[in-house]
Symmetry: D2
Subunit: 348 residues, 4 copies
Amino acid sequence: MSSIEVGVLGATGMVGQQFLQQLANHPWFRTSWLAASERSEGKRYDEAAPWRLAGPMPEGLAQQVVNPCTPGKGPKLVFSALDASVAGQIEQAFAEAGHIVVSNARNFRLEDDVPLLVPEVNADHLDILKVQAAQRGWKGMIVTNPNCSTVMLTMALAPLRQFGLRSCIVTTLQAVSGAGYPGVPSLDILGNVIPFIGGEEEKIERETRKILGACGGQAIAWHPVVVSASTTRVPVIDGHTESVSVDFDREVADGEILEAFRSFSGEPQRLGLPSAPDVPLLYLEQQNRPQPRLDADRGRGMTVTVGRLRPCALLQWKFFALGHNTIRGAAGAAVLNAELMRERGLLS
Amino acid sequence: MSSIEVGVLGATGMVGQQFLQQLANHPWFRTSWLAASERSEGKRYDEAAPWRLAGPMPEGLAQQVVNPCTPGKGPKLVFSALDASVAGQIEQAFAEAGHIVVSNARNFRLEDDVPLLVPEVNADHLDILKVQAAQRGWKGMIVTNPNCSTVMLTMALAPLRQFGLRSCIVTTLQAVSGAGYPGVPSLDILGNVIPFIGGEEEKIERETRKILGACGGQAIAWHPVVVSASTTRVPVIDGHTESVSVDFDREVADGEILEAFRSFSGEPQRLGLPSAPDVPLLYLEQQNRPQPRLDADRGRGMTVTVGRLRPCALLQWKFFALGHNTIRGAAGAAVLNAELMRERGLLS
Amino acid sequence: MSSIEVGVLGATGMVGQQFLQQLANHPWFRTSWLAASERSEGKRYDEAAPWRLAGPMPEGLAQQVVNPCTPGKGPKLVFSALDASVAGQIEQAFAEAGHIVVSNARNFRLEDDVPLLVPEVNADHLDILKVQAAQRGWKGMIVTNPNCSTVMLTMALAPLRQFGLRSCIVTTLQAVSGAGYPGVPSLDILGNVIPFIGGEEEKIERETRKILGACGGQAIAWHPVVVSASTTRVPVIDGHTESVSVDFDREVADGEILEAFRSFSGEPQRLGLPSAPDVPLLYLEQQNRPQPRLDADRGRGMTVTVGRLRPCALLQWKFFALGHNTIRGAAGAAVLNAELMRERGLLS
Amino acid sequence: MSSIEVGVLGATGMVGQQFLQQLANHPWFRTSWLAASERSEGKRYDEAAPWRLAGPMPEGLAQQVVNPCTPGKGPKLVFSALDASVAGQIEQAFAEAGHIVVSNARNFRLEDDVPLLVPEVNADHLDILKVQAAQRGWKGMIVTNPNCSTVMLTMALAPLRQFGLRSCIVTTLQAVSGAGYPGVPSLDILGNVIPFIGGEEEKIERETRKILGACGGQAIAWHPVVVSASTTRVPVIDGHTESVSVDFDREVADGEILEAFRSFSGEPQRLGLPSAPDVPLLYLEQQNRPQPRLDADRGRGMTVTVGRLRPCALLQWKFFALGHNTIRGAAGAAVLNAELMRERGLLS
């Protein structure tokens, strides 16, 4: 149990801490190696990084020494919580050196031969790793998870693909934890809304199409759905809310949508992966849900909730979706990816 | 100066207080009569209603006695800040008794012969009052202003009518002051988003079309634009933010949109009405604006701000709009209506 | 297991829901009877009360029928989450009818013959129940827990009694959940501080002295400490923070205080009560702790955290204390009381 | 009118912007020179510093070029909004070069020969400038205003000096704007309380005693009052709230305290200084006031409000005080200082 050693790149940042939280007491993975920037190198973890999550730091971390991000050091499996400004170079170096890099960073997400994975949605995209291996000549590999807002959206859209998903307009109301630490200054967001998050709208519009696409083994064909995203930051700690309108190639009844939401399940549930929520997508009946404070933690933060399905005057249907942005949208997503990879025999 | 006496129906509620604030030191109107429900009747105003707005209560109000809402009493011109649950009956009784009722309540907004007025947008809708007089047989009249979210939206859409406005999808992020007092419980909204405001989406979808419509003298032809609205409540005190996507009958260039925003002006500006902002619609260049905390008070709360014009992948363009919901969206809107009516000779 | 049936009076309010949450999956207690006001009588629980806590309603509650608060009905052991406006009469009637009433309401807290219990602090105050039985002639009994702010304070002061605790000045920064639902209007507290909570300062000043007092079997001698409390409401969901200064009869070294905090433990820990936290009082070393968002949930909400011990220019020492107001300060407190009572053989 | 040219050191930070706001449309002062760190040197002001205050940037600023902080350049009178890390050296160099430096920084506040001024409280402390001139040999001079929390406290305590003020315990609940920009990360303060502000408690304890002290011409004798301060940060934008307990050498009646608060006035009011509020200290009768959202802007942010006077079980009386921290507590304070200095003939 906990027999697979893992490392965390960027272990001192907010996403890194969320990774360590997700990995604490994991039945398969044991965090044996922490790496971060030179500023933290050689320090004890509790000196390098004040613990910023609620509750105590997981046991056994405080005394671990923070290593530099040196490829070839550390376990074969490394999770990357690196900032995008450095992730590209470091992750590639680790993959070249033989590491399996399960990354939350955006740098490789849209590469043709890199899986952009939401295990309930596109587990078969792992097949593209054969292309990656053939093309890149890396001894290791890179697998990515999407931008936090994209995860919730694709989880809600995936069950609707069967109806001929044609277009989608989404406005997000995003929590501040998505911006890391120190992140958003309190003067900017207390009692306020910021109608801008750099690069976020483009990420949602493109990543969604790749994730929902079909993987033919040799290539991923992006889904033809047209996605238009508007993103805002709101004074919420955890939990991205999304106002979504969708249209289809054919007329779809509300009962069909509800049935699709309710019956949605995927590989993680079938395989019983440790981080998989029993119910990956939960439709809430109450007319004022989902809400971040009440629903973001469902399924230990891994369940995406949807609600308020109603007709859209312009497209066919509209609804709200919600998910925990640093768990389902970041660290939990990556850990679930690694769990799926283990079951597929990709970690050995 | 301040020679026109006015009364306020529902003077003790939040919207009523906002009316009294707007009317304090008004150059034309003098608040000489306060009316509210039986609970407050006969009390001094400061005993009937703790002042809930920032700063001191306007001078001269504290000692005024609160009257019952008795038609025929009070000045000819009365502003109605009544709750919708009672506004229908009381406003009609006042109009029958000869009062000019300038109302913020929703009850009469969609009546065929009642102006639903945004003075910069549809000042000519006042012409329908002739029909109202002919049909209703009231000695007085009723004029209404829209729902708070609708005002911002119509101000932003009005200059775009010229391009053949075809459709609009909007998601709102609404401030708590729009729900009155006590309104939204703090447990529901602190660090949270509520994706539901009862009846609000329907109001926006319908009122917008009436306001943007053409008034042929005998009837108002609703604008054919298709509007789809999703509404949320966010932890903001004042200022509704709206994420808007729009489509047109023809292809429109961004420069055309910007020019239309920037050159937008209306009757209130032409007439120099006291509550009219110099710039009714202000396009902000910064990429992260408008924001409620920084921009809601522009033009003493009467300017609507827009920003972030950018292409929409599905419709043609998208942008954000913002306005002060209790000023431009309620009390200030009604006072501006009354100012326009005076200039049109309707108050005599 | 879970062999003792319990009822909850006032089950539909916020404190009632917190009770049901605390009792879900309890190893000894099984909630078999829900009671509330006439308004809810006969309804299914999920129809009588929308669930307002984060996460799903505990299983098995939704279909239970809400009963009226009829003495003699329901299990022998009832928890009271009643509002103070009705608790006095109803709780007394239940005690007369033979129920063991474990109450969170304030009505009986300061009665001479009613234990005001914080199990780590004054478990021996249960001895006064003999006096209660003798004096009142009730077939049952009433045991109370303190006001939410008082619990944190007495937990922090109890280990300092040994130094001759003489005086204490405290300013609280209290969370909105302490005010119930709908409770504090969002317009009053968003981005604001309210320097007033009705009756709260008196409660803290008096309850603290009773709790810290000695129970001689026949009477409780209130502790002579002079307590001055100032209370404020702040925009926090859960967790009361307290700024505390204390003085003693003799000079006390900081090491003595720290040692007293760190070694503090009580009956619940000795007995291993199910709701007892391993560490009832936790001193945090970081200079900016305790904080409600990070520390209120420690020990499943039952640990009180303290920090920032430093000299006071006027009294001897000052520090901050924090606790979860609806768990350690309300429902969790009452459940712990009942657990202690069971171990003392008082429930049979 | 506006005939005195002034400069602002540190013009691009939050406090600098607040200075520019305070100086806009000032009847005596005209901001003709902006200076900041090398990073901003040579840039237009609107490019060097995004405007972070509500509403538009004051007219005429956008195009001004930002200068380096070179002593001898710029007008004789300069306001310093510099950060403490650089203020010491730069302010001294400006004073040596002949500038009159009116500073908000902490560096010189406790120097024996530097006035730490609250014009209503200790206008006579300007007399110590003769000592400064004699001792320092500077061609110019330095005058300071206190830490933001200290201003509110000394305004509330000044009228109570007559009763033999002996001791004071204060807990502050401070707004985030006091920490500048980017200042407090939103993750630290949303829905939270931080019970620590570096160095703040010491500043309040010491500055208060100097300000309330007597200036004998040759020296300032610190007031003997013992002050104990605890400071917290709360999720409020503007307005520091303070919970204050005070004791006196003699027994004081509540009527005496109220009368002292209500009759308090000072040099700024007597001289009719432009920034002076009509009522410098306002006692609010309502039992739940003062509140930052409702009261911080009183007197254009220059009035300090107090309320809830009630007996303290340990000291004699307790009350709450509140003030706008970036106006009365920073930029407005410095501008008022300069106004007083002009009336005293110190600017020529």
